[in-house]
Symmetry: C2
Subunit: 127 residues, 2 copies
Amino acid sequence: MLSAYLVIAHGSREQNSNEDFFSFLERFRAALPGHLIEGAFLECAPPSIPDALEKCASRGAGEICVIPFMLFSGRHVKEDIPRFIQEAKSRHPEIDFHYASPLADHPAMIGLLADKIETFKPLKGKL
Amino acid sequence: MLSAYLVIAHGSREQNSNEDFFSFLERFRAALPGHLIEGAFLECAPPSIPDALEKCASRGAGEICVIPFMLFSGRHVKEDIPRFIQEAKSRHPEIDFHYASPLADHPAMIGLLADKIETFKPLKGKL
């Protein structure tokens, strides 16, 4: 069965920020060859979540694993994205949908933020 | 010189989400004993960024290192937070202010997201 992975960012009115997400997604795909990985924005910019879910379905995915690229379980993670998934599920009852937790609960996030502190120590770049 | 580290989350109308940030911050402090670490929200909930910056100053910080706990360089990272820092700098010209980049540019973020994909493989929790 083909698995699709849909990574969902919030989206920004700043196009540069959205391009940073696409660039991140390219690095992510390169790190996971052989995986079908799509991206979408919750708001502000295309591709939309429904469009990206349809794209996964049209590629023949038997399951779609949705990963919110968001830090905490706010309204977007708890209500908005699940609503889009339910809508897709009603259109595609033959597809299994799975949903990941947001990022901040990952233990590695502590080390990642600690690295940010380390970068201040030698650089001391003043604002 | 005392260094203070101010971690800034976006803030949510969901109080649970804001509490997740405080909980994260507690784990972060525990991982970095001896560091003065404060937290603030850009919007929706206290403490505000100005209040947290003043708290760092009142504790005698000679420098304040501001870390946006946000994924990309959108408007909040590029405009809103720097404005608060500039305002604090004008009130406290004796303090050095530093500013970190957002999270998604950290190489470890790729592995963190790849772990999310791994969790789908054994669990297959259906929505």
